[in-house]
Symmetry: C3
Subunit: 272 residues, 3 copies
């Protein structure tokens, strides 16, 4: 998809040149990994969730990540305030509904966060289906059907929430409700390292921090993670696995150019 090449190079250059501050309210399990992936990509991460400093932190940021892994009532209150600040200042909000299907507490939290709108949602298929409250998609389908179904599903979710929705997995479907991108980069080993979803959300936020075109920004962030994973995986020697892969994943994200990402991108577009 040659059309993205110029965009990807521009996005990457803008991140490296402006080092955008990306404010995360996120879980304690993968927060260090998210900070590292943002640094490797050229951005400036900050993690902070005390309510009294939310106005200052979010107000100074170029993007806001809300990630509900290990969420509690205190963090939710800070997230809702941060989202208000971000909306009032046109700072993009990137929402990661980690494990939202696991409890009604997370479902209510997600509803509150989504009520007044976010810029981009990134989740896996189960998470995004739960957000939509719609179990009619993708059950019992084979992978080809899932491919078609996942694109339609992402488009429907994007229309319903009025934002870009990225449904990631073996296949990634990213839609703004009008145009949908289906992409197939990535490797199975990504599922054996905790936080690769959270880190993908962070990379999307780094891109959204420097561009108001959220559809290419989301495709770019997802593709960066997946291409880095492909490059890391091919370097593994016999007997190596998720531990060495994770170290090499950061190496590759650090070394990726926008052009590398564009060249390796395997995706197609479709209209809703």
């Amino acid at each position: 998809m040659a059309i993205w090449s110029k965009d990807f190079t521009l996005l990457k250059n803008n991140i490296v040149e402006t080092k955008p501050l990306v404010h995360h309210i996120t879980n304690y399990v993968t927060s260090g990994d998210c900070a590292n992936v943002a640094l490797c990509f050229g951005a400036s991460p900050v993690m902070a969730d005390e309510l009294e400093e939310i106005d200052a932190m979010t107000g100074a940021a170029k993007a806001l990540v809300l990630n509900i892994g290990t969420i509690n009532q205190t963090k939710l209150t800070s997230m809702l305030r941060a989202a208000e600040v971000a909306r009032s200042r046109q700072i993009p909000i990137i929402f990661d509904p980690v494990g939202v299907m696991a409890s009604s507490f997370r479902q209510k939290a997600a509803q509150q966060i989504l009520r007044d709108g976010v810029s981009i949602i990134r989740g896996n298929y189960a998470e995004c289906r739960c957000l939509l409250g719609d179990a009619s998609f993708g059950q019992g389908v084979d992978s080809q059907a899932l491919s078609d179904g996942q694109g339609k599903f992402a488009a429907k979710a994007a229309q319903q929430f009025g934002c870009v929705v990225a449904v990631t997995g073996a296949l990634d479907a990213i839609s703004d409700g009008q145009t949908t991108i289906l992409a197939t980069n990535g490797v199975e080993l990504l599922t054996k390292v905790t936080g690769t979803g959270c880190m993908t959300t962070t990379l999307i936020a780094c891109a959204a921090a420097v561009s108001m075109e959220y559809l290419p920004a989301a495709v770019f962030g997802i593709t960066a993670m997946n291409v880095a994973a492909e490059k890391a995986a091919v370097q593994l020697r016999a007997g190596e696995g998720p531990g060495t892969f994770k170290a090499k994943l950061f190496d590759q994200i650090y070394n990726l150019s926008g052009d590398d990402i564009a060249v390796a991108f395997r995706g197609v577009g479709q209209n809703a």
Copy 2:
């Protein structure tokens, strides 16, 4: 110990095939490492501690890890509720009394968790002695005496708490109060990486999630960590140390088969 070989292979296969959900209420220092070790082993970790979602999280899990590193009053309340849920649904509870000797707050927390019973306790010698409130074991003894004493100590603790007790260190003693296993796998470098004890507890929980025989499950989880550590350590080159070792430790846990664990296992059984 040929008798374990079949069990270990079965346990590993069951974990990989059923991908059991293991709910952790644990510390923020090593939670990412515990999630990664569970993924490498084939299980599905989830970390969550908001009281409002405990019933859903623990209720959906196949095992519950309670780890009191960085514990506070809020987490303790969630742990006690999670333990109630686990007991009512016959979900195994694996308790890690991290640093329990360091404060009376932790000792009271441990007493509350233990009051209504857990399935397996895994701690080092100092932690387990503190739980037992018994300073008569193992002081001023040489390592051979410690070897005998540690087995008897584990058996006594198992009898007192009515569960499997695993006392880990240079020597591991695991007992259900009747049969005690003494095992010697492992390497010194494990003491130079934070969270290897927590990770061992997670591996035990992965096994207990797929088997109600908690004594072999505990021996299996401990041996998996120690054998992986041995395999990682022999690969280190001159000048490498805990950083490279840790990455390779995850690689090895990912690549271990049940048979690998059984073959490398160095342990003997004794009756109480």
Copy 3:
């Protein structure tokens, strides 16, 4: 600077021989990395922040780290109590004002921590300037001017706070208000791994735990991190980056002798 050689060797040996307990009240993003760096260096880290156990934890420690990354009101209350305990028992307090310029909440927290005195402050230039409330240093200057200015700045801050102040960056300036050390060890890659500042603070605390001479202790901790980083960086092969570098950083800290640190140290002293 041959004069430090003996000190550095003595400091390292004392850490390894006495394995001092270093109590951290710190952020959840880099706490695992700080624990690992302390273990690699030979010390015993503990992270704990529940108010009810602060007296026991700090009271048993040989040094106290207060790090305000991801601070909240609850942690601040624990920090203030821990600082009281440390002062009453002559336990050194090492303060890391992470991101203090980012919010008035952090500035107030820092003022409360500093009010009754700490032993050592370690921060970057922006953080230390914010503590001092003085914007007159270092703006618009070239790097040579910064070099001179940073030494004077560190000395001024040390005089104002009545403690050792370490201002770290491309150049490190460490002062007790009388003598100031300017040092230039380190590599750019340190800025691409989250928590290298926090980890440096931990290494300083390991040294302060075994010596009441806080100026050489601070220089030693900073130089240990920077020399380890230099040794790690030169081992990187084409295509490697922050992920592999981080693993090797822990390896090198583990393998560093006091003499290694002294030999590689590039620093000069100046009087205030």
